[in-house]
Amino acid sequence: MSILKIEGIHKNFAGLTALNEVNLEVQEGSVHAIIGPNGAGKSTLLNCLVGRIAPDAGTATFAGRSLLGIKPHEISQAGVARVFQTPEIFGDLTVFENVMIPALAKRDGDFRLNAWRRMDSQSDIRDHAAEILRDVDLLSRGGVVANSLSRGDKRRLELAMCLVQDPRLLLLDEPTAGMSRADTNNTIDLLKQIGERGITKVIIEHDMHVVFSLAHRVSVLAQGTVIAEGTPDEIKGNPVVQEAYLGGAH
């Protein structure tokens, strides 16, 4: 059963076509990778899905609900979480607080003042945050200010912030960009571990090692159009893809 359905998405930027009639279907529980050369429109597509960019035409439905024309916080409350290319965390707060905040969003919705009760009396939030931090192996660093974490740990923290909300769909924009090989492998392991939770994932990634380690299906974008779609093995052997993206070297 498809959880995300994109039909005829089109986006122009000052005469330049960034997305041209993009159609895509993501199955629930699967890992769907979107690959393509620089400027293919991958990030634009992701930004359309999270309310950052309004497409000129087309539809995007998540679990039967349209994602277009609604605000980012409404998309998040609907069950869509996003991991950014550069980890977007609360650098001035502690690791623990970084995870407690999204847990509050999950429990209280998009607005609840709650200005009198002490934060440390919210035991349900603390326990939930601790459980997720244990899962991503950051519990021992809970009291550390997030800005002092390494790049790899910041990525783990960002993932924990998404996971604590128990999303149905996780959108990952180049989650291993700028990472060392060791950090990349750790992130792959972590994403596989997350896979056991049954969360559907859409990954935009340049690193083929990451794509072929994780993805069940791969869509290839080139010049704003989906030129191929299939299993990783099918994509590897597709001459059109090799020509457009892998340059025939793969």
Binding site: A81, G91, L93, R118, G143, V144
Partner: protein
Amino acid sequence: MTTDSARKDWMLAGGFALAILTMPVWLTPIGASYPDLLQKFAIFGIFAVGFNILFGLTGYLSFGHAAFLGAGSYAAMWAFKALSMNVLPAVLFGVLVAGLFALVIGFISLRRSGIYFSILTLAFAQMSYNLAYSVLTPITNGETGLQLSRSDPRILDSLFGTETGAGLPSTNLFGVEMSGYPGFYFCAVMLILCFVISMRIFRSPFGMKLRAIKSNQNRMNYLGFNTGPYTLAAFVISGMYAGLAGALMVATDPLAGAERMQWTASGEVVLMTILGGAGTLVGPILGACIIKYCENIFSAFNERMLSNAFSLLPDPVQHFLVVVINPFVGEGWHLTLGLVFVLIVIFLPGGLMEGIRRLSRIRLGGPGGGAKDKAPLPGMAEART
């Protein structure tokens, strides 16, 4: 841990209350224990604590908070004229009107962030200031300022048959006049209440969300928070604190003038907060007290007083010191304040509270830098004292 940190907070509140209520005693040696100055410490302390809820927690820098100070003053003054000379209705009315005013200005200004937000708030405050001098003269009494008159109706006082005597009536709290030390103690109790409320906000989920907005508002949106109502709530609460400060000004000195809405008053509360330490609980109050102390004490110094102070030194040295220090006192006290502010911003960006923290770290022999990335409690970076 919950009980432990809650107990620490109550100890902090208790210590703060004790320090404020005993100010007339321990401020005597530095000549700052007279009621007018003590009232200013408490009133501007409230103003700064409120401003810190907006600026210290969310990072939104308002240059227009004087508008709420003025609105609170005018509203309280009207309560004295129309309802009663008792300060409670006036304070209530001042807070309410300032809160409504903040709701309108905040709703519009918070559509932008950064410098654009600051400019919008400044524009609104200047508009209010100019309106108070022009078209709103029937409400504000223009340049003369809003004053009490014997012919004011004072409905509640008439209803309860309260005697006002032959001259102009005085503001009071159930018969206790609000001038002198009683006025200070009333303001001090209000400051303590405001401090406790501010402390609860700092420690609450609301406070944590405001700090997260300051850190990364974009991420907050993508985590499912509608950040608009949170920043608006902080703006309104902050405006209500300013309204309370304005109401207390007329409770202790019943005259409301438009100059309270001028941009210099908005700038002053920014200085107070940054000087003491934005985002800390006690810092803004410390900043407010230092600025008001400088304003009242240093501005009263003159060349003759300096000569007397250095009279024990040899003549050439005495003359040299008087010549060097004289430009920094009297009318030139702003130069002292400016220099102190520059030094604080350069060397202690976290304000005086950062200096105090550094000193206590050195005194305790703790690591100079290693501890700074650790939270004081496991997992929770308690909002700084």
